[in-house]
Subunit: 109 residues, 2 copies
């Protein structure tokens, strides 16, 4: 992945993952696979796990261990009330950014 993409993901990736969790609970491996399908081809697995640990420690998600048929138990994350608040704030910030950038973007040709 380009360095540009990497830097732009900082802060944004967290919002993306929380947005996914707002629609349904999910676990790390599943989220990584979904991101790759969506075109984030080179998201490292470790990145998603580390991100999930961070949001858990900040109390934005609830965690439940669910035994898996294959492999170790899954840690299924779901967005809690505080997480929803945080996600709302994320969308506000995101809208602010997209507004400013759309003004700067040259007319498409």
């Amino acid at each position: 992945m380009s360095k540009q993409t990497t830097e732009m993901l900082k802060g944004v990736l967290e919002g993306i993952v929380l947005a996914i969790l707002s629609s349904r609970p999910a676990y790390g491996y599943e989220i990584t696979a979904w991101l790759r399908e969506q075109g984030f081809t080179d998201i490292a697995e470790g990145t998603v796990y580390a991100l999930l640990v961070r949001v858990e420690q900040r109390g934005l998600v609830d965690v439940e261990k669910v035994p898996s048929e294959k492999g170790p138990p899954r840690k299924v994350y779901s967005l809690n009330a505080q997480g929803h608040d945080y996600l709302s704030e994320f969308w506000r910030t995101w809208s602010f950014l997209t507004d400013r950038l759309s003004q700067l973007q040259p007319g498409e040709k």
Copy 2:
């Protein structure tokens, strides 16, 4: 500024500054003032100067020293050919992100 905004700015602020420079040459103090008018109320001055040094070192901008009526000489930056290429790449990456995020954003109520 919220920590959220700070983190989301990473990588994006650079694109914003380059976009400004693509429309006209400018110097650091001026860019900072403009950003503040646009609602980036708490952009630290040091941040913009550090960013300009980085893009200069990567050869994306040309620099010219221009004496100022008040205060020390200004370093006026302008986007060069390589900078334009880089900026195009930035817009592609930005479009990719906005596409993915617009899919995730809940229908506005």
